[in-house]
Symmetry: C2
Subunit: 193 residues, 2 copies
């Protein structure tokens, strides 16, 4: 069993990822896998061999993006004051989850399996790193856990994501405003009244 794929398999995989990116961009969660296979010039069987489930495909499409998000955490904690780093990373985290009309959030809510476990783990670790850093500097309350913070931020993405067709009506709170409110929770209370 050679560790390398056949070249046609590798080529098809790339084509499928490109087609999936296109389809998810246009149709979000409603994108048809059949259609993605068609766009890639490939049979449905080929799609399912490369990506057994819709999540697997989504995880593969998001893979690079997630790696960048995680690397960004390291970059921020190294170059910015802890509270700025936390705020900026959360902003990036929310922006990431808004990708593909909020489809990226869906991956995060799925049951972790062998295919997306790394994504979950990596993001959780990145979030934990940024939060811990802020807590050590005294700019984040110590009783807050990373899963709590990430879920709250994820909620912001989920409630502000819009399906392709429907733009946000005016008056709808923006993700930035909701994040600002969330950050008020994160900062330690000056004192308990």
């Amino acid at each position: 069993m050679p560790t390398t794929q056949r070249t046609d398999a590798r080529r098809n995989r790339e084509r499928l990822l490109d087609a999936a990116h296109e389809a998810f961009t246009e149709a979000g969660a409603d994108a048809s896998l059949n259609d993605i296979a068609r766009r890639a010039g490939v049979g449905p069987g080929t799609l399912y061999r490369h990506f057994p489930t819709r999540s697997a495909l989504l995880a593969a499409v998001l893979h690079e993006r997630i790696e960048r998000l995680c690397a960004y955490a390291g970059h921020l904690t190294g170059t910015r004051p802890a509270d700025e780093a936390l705020a900026e990373w959360l902003r990036a985290f929310i922006a990431h989850n808004l990708a593909y009309h909020g489809l990226a959030s869906a991956l995060f809510l799925e049951a972790p399996d062998t295919l997306n476990a790394n994504c979950h783990e990596d993001i959780r670790n990145a979030g934990a790193a940024v939060l811990t850093h802020a807590q050590r500097s005294g700019t984040a309350r110590p009783d807050l856990s990373a899963p709590e913070l990430l879920l709250l931020a994820l909620g912001i993405a989920l409630t502000t994501a819009r399906p392709a067709s429907r733009p946000a009506p005016t008056g709808t709170p923006t993700p930035d405003r909701l994040l600002a409110l969330l950050l008020d929770t994160v900062h330690p209370r000056p004192h308990t009244p």
Copy 2:
């Protein structure tokens, strides 16, 4: 055009609502409308005549529940201190949105149309009433709007709702804990450091 439905129509409508309640309880968003019609002992055509879209059916199923939620707001502001009323109503709001494995939240994120516009409006008004009451009493920060608060609470429901099959893994933050964090944002800061 008589304003009253025929008795068989009314009967079928009731049966459909019961069947839908069952199916949504079991399968959440994945419930098949075909299956709901079957359970109700009715053809698919009948289902679609009574409820032209899935949302319409969902809105009808949730109607009573939503009325209770809105009435609860009035009750709370009349009988409880403003901050307690706000906390308790938000708890109820989140619990409501967790119904049918989070399916109830979906209705809230949909584009308002003639069928569900009342639901949106009523809930928004109820939330605004409870929030305004708290703001007048000085227990909620004045720069917070009802849509903002509702979206944040809705986010909690969305991120903690679980599809039928998959219970929350231990260590997952509970809705109550996330709400407690959210309420910290809501209370006015003792002073700005």
